[in-house]
Symmetry: none
DNA sequence: TATGAATGAGTTTTCATTCAT
DNA sequence: GATGAATGAAAACTCATTCAT
């Protein structure tokens, strides 16, 4: 049953978010999910596989969303605005998973996980393609699109921290607007 | 001898950068440094202390540099340009340490280390103050300085990844210019 | 299964008796028990906990026996005789455990273990109460019952050493009689 | 210089008494003595050797005292009284050493140290000889002198604990009298 | 499928001992 | 003699993974 896999992922996300991937024990994931340790190993080969799978799912979700936006004749501005909104909604709905995505995805260089690599390579790549298109039609100014895509991707990814780090409590909307403003001006849109 | 402490930090940085803090064993740090495990414990109380110390040193270095720039009547643009240059020179000189700084500082929310907290709190704070001043004298446009400082801090911090992630090899200068351009435009400077 | 806990205690007793608590390694206990180190930690939180548990069990056994004797209208002489017999039977049956009890309980002053404290405090206390009663009914002469109880407790506790230390092999019965004789005369009974 | 050896023994006694032999580190002994760790190893081959030496010295002191008493035509009562007095004076003067003597001498069976063996074998042996003599001249009643000697030796040795364990504070004199009374009556003197 | 007791390699840390100065 | 930095073997303990039930 894929239900169990989802159950395990949710539990794992909660525990990873709370304790960090390395300090989280498989036992505590099992407890969080109210199942036995052994059961986890029926669905995942290793503890790393759980994290990997979470990344894969979330990555696919975002890629799919981004691609769905592209076919609708929207401007880059509109697409990025939508995407950030989506990101914040996901953030609210699956807070744990998102926290994990950010906390554990730092180094695309070191990871052995294909899904984690995809996450921090394919997504920027998708943005890059969008930038190139926007550049051609003159929506944004001349720029190094690969670097620009990375800048945008990272700015979006880290926006969670901004929400958490700011002393004054701001609404999600305020943060989103500030982030989008920064990005749009940054790319001369 | 403080020489040993430096030696250990260098070895630890190399191993942390290569394997990540959690997967790095004290034994492998000792091997990297060509010393005995016990020796490490003459200079550091725990493995975490090593990371902490690295953060402390690097944080102080950056804070000191940033403050030294402030007293010289430079514009924000000039200061940030200098600071990013400094960051890239440090990056080249102490590649491992910088990698560790970024990889292990992602989650300022969960860490227990004061030095790590300082790093991701004091530095943005310093930038925030600079933004406020620049805003008053009209160097940059109206903005939420706290959020802006975070955006700048994170953009600078993550610029290492951009350097590494881009498929086409770019010179440091090219990356720096792209990053600075993004930031300056982003804050309307 | 409590069987495992008993198995571990037996193995630990054997190793503690052979090597002393401090020199005994958890690994050697595991080997003695023919189980893995990790298994021990499923049943006990720390190595000290094992010793503690042994003390608790043995202490409860003795306290229970002593109290069971008290309700039967026996004289102090009879009670102490029975108790020493019980002690020697236990000694024969669980030689290792008893050795541990004595070897590791010497210093009630420094230990942090509640069970070890109970052992060397509650048991003498029980004897003290018995002495007070015996004094009232004139079975023994006037004396400082607290000190007397300590003297008796220690004499009984150390009687194992006498058995072991004497060059000429004596039967348990002979040792018991000598010890009882010493105690009874010592308290003027 | 033998002075250093004495200095080390005093420091070691203090530390052993405070922390127990096994938990005491050579470094802390060195600190207590205000010397370097290496210096200790100029005078003692191992940490165990220090304990061993302390036992040897104290053992010799007691054996010598006991023998000096024997040549003076005193009764067993007088000798034991003197000896216990001596023991308590030593106890007061070198509290640390005595604590160590008792805490670490529990198991004559397990120790590899000759000095520790001597301590718990020769001293009882000396007492045994005295008992035999006293028996011949009718000072005490018929008894198993070897067992009796052990009983006396252990009672004396453990008297420190009585002093410490009793809730009501008693003077040394009171404890001594109680212990002597117990012993004398116990051996029918 | 589901379980969770058992495993044992691997981790951090300590500390008696050595030896170059 | 005296030092104390350096050593590395060994300790307690953890935890991802397995497998008999």
């Amino acid at each position: 049953m894929e239900d169990k896999k989802v159950l395990i992922c949710k539990a794992a996300s909660a525990v990873f978010a709370r304790e960090g991937f390395h300090k989280a024990s498989v036992k505590s994931i099992a407890q969080e999910a109210n199942i036995a340790v052994g059961t986890i190993y029926l669905y995942f080969k290793t503890k790393e596989d759980i994290l990997d799978y979470i990344f894969k799912i979330e990555h696919e979700k975002r890629i799919a969303y981004l691609r769905s936006l592209q076919g609708q004749g929207m401007t880059l501005r509109e697409i990025l605005t939508k995407f950030l909104e989506f990101h914040f909604i996901e953030l609210a709905e699956h807070e744990n998973i998102n926290r994990v995505l950010i906390q554990e995805s730092t180094s695309p260089l070191r990871t052995t996980s294909d899904s984690m690599k995809s996450f921090s390579i394919e997504l920027p790549n998708e943005i890059k393609k969008m930038l190139e298109t926007a550049q051609i039609i003159g929506e944004i100014e001349e720029m190094d699109c690969e670097v620009g895509a990375q800048l945008i991707f990272q700015t979006i990814r880290n926006s969670v921290f901004i929400a958490k780090a700011s002393n004054l409590r701001r609404t999600d909307k305020q943060i989103q607007d500030a982030v989008l403003g920064f990005i749009f001006k940054g790319i001369g849109s």
